[in-house]
């Protein structure tokens, strides 16, 4: 990946490198966390994360966000392979412009698919990159759901079906792309990526 991120604390290119994240608003202090907050973090280790301690200001919203997220991406029962779900997340992040989110999910997509070069092409060229038919179909569907007005139509479903996906797999792509329209807006607006700050946010 380009070296230019070294020159800037705020990364100005898409990258698979590990980035940090700095909040714009004050998170709750660790000492302020009540049992309600800690339960909402789901994983107790997230008490170390400024991102999750900021979201803990609305603990119920945080809890249900996290449980929704985990099932969409981590549920291994049938449906789309993890790599395709992560690709949808990376494509939405590339299109919306969330450099931080794209870095995390590009890493996951590259790792699960073992397709680093294609993922780097998506990051470098954008959502029009040529990635082979199956991934092109996933990216096109994710972009069509993200645009306002949305352009997602029967042709996107048919194209995904033609790659061998069943309805649960297509629903996984729809939910993964939709979820990153949620995640991108929180990550982008509540703080910013930082290249000179160590990775400090659990993956999601």
């Amino acid at each position: 990946m380009p070296d230019t991120i070294e020159a800037s604390a705020v990364p100005n290119v898409f990258t698979r490198a590990m980035l940090g994240w700095v909040p714009f608003l004050e998170p709750l202090a660790e000492a302020e966390l009540t049992p309600h907050h800690i339960a909402a973090l789901i994983d107790a280790a997230r008490a170390k994360s400024e991102y999750f301690r900021l979201l803990a200001r609305d603990p119920d919203a945080l809890e249900h966000r996290t449980r929704t997220d985990k099932d969409i991406f981590y549920n291994p029962e049938a449906g789309a392979p993890r790599a395709d779900r992560e690709l949808a997340a990376a494509a939405v992040s590339r299109f919306n412009g969330c450099i931080y989110c794209a870095s995390v999910h590009a890493r996951f997509a590259a790792t699960y698919a073992k397709r680093e070069a294609d993922v780097d092409k998506l990051l470098a060229e954008g959502v029009g990159a040529e990635l082979g038919e199956r991934w092109n179909a996933v990216v096109a569907a994710a972009v069509a759901l993200t645009a306002i007005p949305m352009t997602f139509g029967p042709e996107h479903v048919q194209r995904l079906r033609a790659t061998g996906m069943d309805d649960l797999a297509i629903s996984d792509i729809i939910q993964a792309a939709s979820f990153f329209n949620w995640a991108n807006r929180l990550m982008l607006s509540l703080g910013e990526a930082s290249a000179d700050r160590g990775p400090n946010v659990p993956s999601r």
């Binding site: 230019t4 290119v13 608003l25 249900h64 049938a78 449906g79 939709s178 949620w182 807006r185 607006s189």
Partner: protein, 193 residues
């Protein structure tokens, strides 16, 4: 049937019911997210009427039925006095997305101008300062979130938004960006043999 099922038209025992059950935890907690963001037991500094006003605005900006209609009805129930004003705000600030600017550098060639948030004085006045600040923030989150900056919170704080309520507002708008797309996507899936 939850809100997503209702708006997609999922009926018990249908193929799409089985698809949604394949991600049962997501199904449950997407609905819980809706409940805690729109009708929380303790709304704090962000009233239920204000939440439905923001939701009707977000759904209206996405220009998709039946979701926009669902939140128009919700606003009539929970904050009816604002319904006409919110409808006008949607018309006056309609735009396309995603837009905005990247941190200066190689990606600057991809920058696109942020859509204006320009309300008529009458609509701005009818919203009042607190909702006006919320709608300006919402418009940016919906259409050009990559234009993020810490300065964007100052108008909210000046209008009386607490940090907790700003997080709830951010979650509400962002959650709706998810819910609206899941509904639209699953409707297409259900209608495509």
């Amino acid at each position: 049937m939850d809100v997503i099922d209702t708006l997609v038209g999922v009926t018990p025992g249908s193929p799409l019911d089985a698809v949604r059950d394949g991600r049962k935890i997501a199904r449950t907690h997407a609905q819980k997210s809706y409940e805690v963001l729109l009708t929380p037991a303790e709304p704090g500094d962000f009233s239920i009427a204000e939440r439905f006003a923001v939701a009707a605005y977000v759904a209206g900006l996405h220009r998709v039925e039946p979701t926009a209609g669902y939140y128009r009805t919700g606003l009539l129930e929970h904050g009816g006095a604002l319904a006409e004003t919110v409808a006008k705000a949607i018309t006056e600030t309609a735009a396309e997305g995603p837009k905005g600017s990247f941190p200066a550098g190689p990606l600057s060639t991809e920058d696109t101008p942020a859509p204006a948030f320009a309300l008529s004085p009458a609509v701005a006045e009818a919203l009042g300062p607190k909702l006006l600040a919320a709608f300006a923030h919402t418009h940016y989150l919906v259409f050009h979130p990559r234009d993020a900056a810490p300065e964007r919170f100052a108008p909210l704080q000046d209008a009386g938004w607490t940090l907790d309520a700003i997080v709830s507002l951010s979650q509400l708008v962002s959650f709706l960006a998810f819910q609206i797309r899941v509904i639209a996507g699953l409707r297409v899936l259900a209608a495509t043999p």
